[in-house]
């Protein structure tokens, strides 16, 4: 288990401030955040390389705040691998290995066994990452810290190595924390996601939670939510049932029915946000486009004009202008073609009250 409690550290002029989160034993945590947000410093602090200035760090139930790195049972992989250039590939993997057999096993599983005869200086960036992974896992640590360990691998190899890391993580019962810029990777690998910015943990939770229910408009935008509207929330209470009749489940969960007014738009929302100023976040993939008003249960329906179509392979991003407010919807390119969408076409954009997240 990695348990950071109000952890602060300083690395040169950079400060990590009051970072708190927990990655339970045997789970896979992912740290996401913009460049320079302190992701690497966080890993180095957990590894004991950057000293803690305040707060506490617990690793597997033991107070590791002041523990030296070699006593933490940590495997650390940097993005740039930092293979020892004066040693051979085999010597690098064996450097801190629990045994020659484990070194051999992990080298084989990461595909680094084919590289053992090569000098470190001749390896490509991707090959270096494979050897660095093998070197860290060969120690059989309890906790693995990975700083963008797949960034230099080609897409095919990345998938294979990612699967291997996940497999070893599960087989050996490791607790893993990985820094990534790739949201898909975060969703695929992570049991826990930690969002870091400017040395602070802005939010942590399951990736689903963090992506679907961002704690602030900044987080929402960072995580790629394209529709973030500023406005005011009103609690509906008694007025709610008429449009919630067919969908009583959310209310049963303690949520309330609300209206969110943003300029000319009024959105129906189900959630637990207090009344007052705030932001509404609607993920582009939650918005359904149709040429005629749909029959479904979606409470939010707006007629608008298509102003932009951007096709990115299998997906098409459609911007719809609704009385001056642009809403971005994401649909499959096939659906967009079937609908015959063109710039200037009038469409209905609809989404459920539950699809609106207030923050």
């Amino acid at each position: 288990m990695i348990d950071c409690r109000a952890l602060s550290a300083r690395h040169g002029s950079f400060r990590l401030a009051d970072v708190s989160f927990v990655v339970p034993a045997g789970e896979y945590g992912v740290v996401i955040g913009p460049a320079g947000s302190g992701k690497t410093t966080l890993l180095e602090t957990i590894a004991g390389i950057v000293p803690v200035t305040s707060g506490t760090l617990w690793l597997h139930g033991r107070d590791a705040t002041s523990l030296v790195p070699e006593a933490r049972s940590i495997g650390l992989v940097y993005q740039h691998a930092f293979l020892f250039p004066h040693l051979s590939v085999a010597q690098n993997i064996a450097y801190g290995a629990a045994s020659p057999e484990v070194a051999e096993l992990v080298a084989r599983r990461f595909g680094a066994d084919a590289l053992t005869g090569r000098p470190v200086r001749s390896l490509s960036g991707g090959e270096r990452q494979l050897v660095a992974l093998a070197r860290a896992f060969a120690r059989r640590p309890s906790t693995v810290l990975l700083d963008e360990p797949f960034s230099a691998l080609d897409p095919r190899r990345r998938t294979v190595v990612r699967r291997e890391v996940r497999a070893l993580h599960r087989e050996w019962g490791l607790t893993t924390l990985q820094v990534t810029h790739d949201f898909t990777e975060a969703g695929l690998l992570g049991d826990v996601a930690i969002l870091l910015d400017d040395g602070r943990a802005l939010q942590s939770g399951t990736p689903e939670e963090v992506f679907r229910r961002p704690a602030s408009p900044y987080i929402a935008e960072f995580l790629g939510a394209e529709n973030v509207l500023a406005g005011t929330t009103h609690i509906l209470d008694e007025r709610a049932p008429d449009w919630l009749e067919g969908d009583p489940a959310p209310i049963a969960h303690g949520y309330r029915a609300m209206e969110f007014a943003s300029g000319p738009l009024t959105l129906y929302v189900v959630g637990d946000f207090p009344a007052g100023a705030g932001y509404a976040v609607i993920r582009a993939e939650e918005i359904v486009l149709s040429l005629v008003p749909p029959d479904g249960s979606a409470r939010n329906r707006f007629r608008g004009v298509v102003t932009e179509l951007a096709t990115l392979g299998a997906l098409t991003r459609v911007t719809v202008d609704i009385t001056g407010v642009p809403l971005v919807a994401s649909l499959t390119t096939r659906s967009a073609k079937e609908l015959g969408l063109t710039v200037g076409a009038t469409v209905t954009a609809s989404f459920k009250a539950m699809a609106v997240h207030l923050c």
Partner: protein, 272 residues
């Protein structure tokens, strides 16, 4: 586009600057190389012959080699941890410490000799204490080692500090997570990665120690090291007698020079 009316004069001015710079550089190069070439040309052959016939010269060269090597070993022993701390640790007073370590390079060497005499002379507490345990510094090879160490160790520390600073600290960090104590990480990772820089710095220190005169002459005139012998021959017998000794010293300076070039060549090869 055709060049403007000012393009031609500007090009002419550039040419004049280039010619002047080349002239100044050539003159400086000649000024640095010609005296040594002339010295070796005039006294090299005699010096080489005297190596076999002149026992005092052989003795002086032997003493120089032994004392310079001893001073260098002491400098490496004490200077390596100091250089590592200066390269790796941030602490209050680091800049002051670095400046203090550079000071011996900046003061005139006879002044360094006088300062050492104050510290190590029989009248001083340290010198008196050493005498009490049978160690006389002034007027012995120990004094030569002390003078060499004082003037040359800062060169090693400065070079070693740079060599350590060039090693990315994350190599050590990785070694620590792989189970190494700080000392073990230093021996297994930092030292091998900075080895060339450390050896080069030691060679520079050794060369500087061999060429030292000002501080040595204050602490220990006799027994004579090679630099003192060449001075002694010059003042006692004139240029003719001093020339072969001076030429041998100049030729010996080629040894560390070749060592440094070889190290640099190996380093470039390793980098490519």
């Amino acid at each position: 586009m055709t060049p403007g009316p000012t393009a031609e004069p500007a090009r002419g001015a550039q040419r004049i600057v280039a010619v002047l710079a080349a002239l100044a550089s050539s003159l400086l190069l000649l000024f640095l190389a010609v005296p040594i070439g002339k010295l070796i040309g005039a006294g090299g052959l005699d010096g080489a012959r005297q190596l076999f016939s002149d026992a005092e010269l052989r003795q002086a060269l032997g003493l120089t080699a032994v004392t310079a090597t001893t001073a260098t070993l002491l400098g490496v022993l004490g200077g390596t941890p100091l250089a590592w701390v200066l390269a790796r640790r941030e602490f209050r007073g680091r800049a002051v410490l670095a400046a203090v370590l550079d000071l011996p390079l900046l003061i005139p060497h006879p002044v360094a000799g006088i300062a050492l005499l104050l510290l190590l002379g029989r009248e001083s507490a340290v010198g008196g204490g050493l005498l009490a345990v049978g160690l006389r510094v002034v007027g012995t090879p120990l004094g030569i080692v002390a003078a060499m160490l004082f003037v040359a160790a800062p060169l090693f520390i400065s070079g070693a500090r740079e060599a350590f600073a060039r090693v990315e600290p994350r190599f050590e960090a990785v070694a620590r997570t792989l189970g190494d104590s700080p000392l073990r990480a230093f021996v297994r990772v930092t030292l091998p990665l900075s080895r060339r820089g450390l050896v080069a710095s030691a060679v520079v220190m050794w060369a500087r120690a061999v060429s030292e005169f000002g501080a040595i002459v204050i602490l220990t005139y006799n027994p004579k090291v090679a630099s003192v012998l060449s001075y002694d021959r010059f003042t006692s017998f004139g240029l003719r007698e001093a020339l072969p000794v001076a030429a041998v010293l100049a030729m010996l300076a080629l040894i560390p020079l070749i060592a440094l070039r070889t190290l640099r060549g190996a380093d470039d090869g390793a980098r490519s």
